[in-house]
């Protein structure tokens, strides 16, 4: 059910329009936001899959499901960036995720940010769908600032094994996620894939995870008496369990591994070659056993650039406490 939530005139023609999709009228609501960055396309595609699915449920075309809660999706926030194929708002290079809480009377980006927050602040749950930063690829994982029981349950219900607890950083107070946390919305960010691409398999896995989440939280009823699956093991990684692998030379980075794979200590991740001579300048290896969560995708690298992030495999002492299992 597509609803227009903001109309702004443009200098040269058609109005700029911001939309959301809404399903259900009763119960606690789930908000799913994608397209904060104009080049994060996995989230856009995933939201379009959810729209297709929920439309069929509401129209009675899917006999297995009934919607028992409310869902609203915001597929495209950074409208002009998506239209222009850029990450940032094209006119002034504004990062939409630095525009919150926004301003209803302000510039276009501020007005959009204000409206997104206005429409989501009463949600019970929130999901923000993102991809890796430019030139990197992420294995699907969840990012959180806090890891309380409610968040842990969300992660399990979403069937995503890997959770990275993020360091608090100086610009987070102008992010959408921060404002959701302030409103005590149970929320997480899901990152998967790389900018400017759609990974169909990742989207399908995340789609099934979100369906499972909706079933587990009572937003969606499955008439086949299938319970949601919540026995998945979720591992929360602290910031100090992340290992950065950095270049000490510059050139072409050629990788030998895939993001999402488990690396052994000493395993080669890739090498840097000199652009002119083709000679190998250095080998980059993993200093730890662990999960390769982020990998450099764009091959041209400078010295001192991170090319990989490995999440250490060894058990944290925190995991031995019963309340963290």
């Amino acid at each position: 059910m597509k609803e227009k939530i903001l109309t702004l005139p443009t200098p040269y023609g058609e109005n700029l329009e911001l939309y959301k999709n809404v399903w259900g009228k009763a119960g606690e609501s789930l908000s799913i936001v994608s397209g904060l960055q104009g080049d994060h396309l996995n989230g856009l595609f995933l939201n379009s899959q959810l729209t297709q699915f929920l439309d069929r449920v509401i129209e009675g075309l899917d006999p297995h499901y009934t919607l028992t809660g409310q869902v609203q999706t915001f597929p495209v926030v950074n409208i002009n960036a998506v239209q222009s194929g850029t990450r940032l708002w094209p006119l002034d290079g504004m990062d939409m995720d630095l525009a919150f809480p926004g301003n209803s009377q302000g510039e276009t980006t501020e007005a959009i940010a204000y409206m997104i927050l206005e429409h989501t602040q009463d949600s019970f749950w929130g999901l923000i769908l993102t991809s890796a930063p430019p030139h990197y690829e992420d294995a699907p994982h969840i990012q959180v600032y806090k890891s309380n029981n409610s968040v842990k349950k969300m992660c399990r219900d979403l069937k995503i094994e890997t959770v990275r607890k993020q360091k608090e950083y100086s610009t987070q107070k102008v992010n959408l996620f921060h404002h959701w946390q302030e409103q005590e919305i149970s929320s997480v960010m899901i990152s998967a894939g790389s900018p400017r691409t759609i990974n169909l398999q990742q989207c399908e896995n995340l789609f099934q995870g979100i369906l499972n989440f909706m079933k587990a939280e009572g937003i969606l009823k499955d008439h086949r008496k299938k319970d949601s699956e919540n026995k998945g093991k979720t591992r929360i990684y602290q910031p100090d369990e992340e290992v950065l692998v950095k270049t000490s030379t510059a050139g072409i980075f050629v990788t030998e591994v895939k993001v999402g794979s488990y690396l052994k200590q000493g395993q080669k991740i890739g090498e840097v070659r000199d652009i002119y001579s083709g000679k190998k300048l250095e080998e980059l290896i993993s200093s730890e056993d662990g999960l390769l969560i982020t990998l450099r995708q764009y091959p041209i690298v400078y010295e001192k650039e991170p090319v990989a992030i490995v999440l250490k495999a060894k058990n944290s002492w925190r995991e031995y406490f019963p309340w963290n299992r």
Partner: protein
């Protein structure tokens, strides 16, 4: 003058990316003053001012070296990749380097660069001046902006800088990741000077600030030179600043220039519809006062800032 590379990074095609620091030095207990330009690669006014400072100080080293009483550091181009491409942002990642100075940033080359710059400035300065121009949209009169929390320490310094106005404004979350905020938080006073517009150099404004910088160095005892007096800046609190915003999208055709003292109702420009050929609105000043910001880029959307005016209340 001594030149030091505070950062050198190998690039894929050969020549390294480097940040240079020039130092003019005399052993003393006078405050060490540092000047920074080019954090945004399309803001060139600061580079012009640094050029003038380097040239002046080099000549002074020869003609009157005793006049240099303290240490002066000049970092003329701290975002070399962006300057090379004339872009505001660090080109490889479209990252605003002046949003990478706070804690907990995601690791990247830009963040590593900003941390090295911050540490170098903290270890070699008692006062820092960070030069900026405006973005693509707005033209600014030479000014210093001070966050209210830092007013006590910064205002006496700012008054020496020969700017037209000093704007004291409340803190906002977005400042937490800027260079100046983090220096001030670390108790190294840092002034942000804003003038002109990006991609351009206005020598008159640059010369005005250059004279202000010499005056600042003189007043802090770092330089012992004879100078003409500098102008008294207008002190502005946020409630005195009236912003004019576009009520509709269109093209803004300006009809005044920054620095003008406006009467209430005086015309600033007009908003036109380029497709229909109509004038949407004549834009007038909501108050009398000094026009210190004016829209330069004609393309506006609803809510875009068109002008900022320091309201002057008339005595009845």
């Amino acid at each position: 003058m001594q030149t030091q590379r505070i950062l050198s990074i190998k690039s894929p095609l050969g020549p390294p990316v480097e940040i240079l620091k020039h130092t003019f030095s005399a052993q003393s207990n006078k405050p060490r003053v540092s000047f920074v330009a080019g954090l945004h690669g399309d803001e060139l006014e600061g580079l012009y001012i640094c050029h003038k400072l380097i040239r002046y100080l080099k000549e002074l080293e020869i003609s009157n070296p005793e006049a240099i009483k303290g240490q002066i550091n000049i970092y003329p181009a701290v975002n070399p990749q962006a300057l090379e491409n004339a872009t505001r942002l660090w080109p490889f990642f479209s990252l605003d380097v002046n949003r990478t100075f706070g804690s907990g940033q995601i690791d990247s080359l830009a963040v590593e660069t900003s941390q090295i710059l911050l540490q170098d400035l903290k270890s070699s300065s008692e006062i820092v001046i960070d030069f900026h121009s405006s973005n693509l949209q707005l033209m600014e009169l030479p000014q210093i902006r001070i966050i209210k929390d830092f007013e006590k320490k910064l205002l006496p310094l700012a008054k020496n800088c020969n700017v037209d106005l000093i704007w004291i404004h409340p803190n906002a979350e977005i400042f937490a990741s800027t260079l100046a905020f983090n220096l001030n938080k670390a108790k190294t006073p840092a002034l942000v000077i804003e003038t002109g517009i990006c991609h351009r150099i206005y020598p008159n404004a640059g010369d005005q600030i250059f004279n202000g910088m010499l005056n600042l160095l003189h007043e802090t005892g770092t330089l012992n030179i004879k100078l003409d007096s500098v102008k008294e800046p207008k002190l502005v609190q946020s409630d005195q600043v009236k912003m004019v915003q576009a009520y509709h999208s269109g093209l803004f055709i300006k009809q005044v220039a920054v620095g003008k003292f406006l009467e209430e109702g005086e015309r600033l420009g007009k908003l036109i519809d380029p497709i229909e050929g109509s004038v949407l609105k004549e834009i007038v000043s909501p108050c009398s006062g000094l026009l210190f910001t004016l829209r330069e880029h004609p393309l506006v959307h609803k809510g875009s800032p068109l002008a900022r005016i320091v309201e002057t209340l008339r005595k009845k």
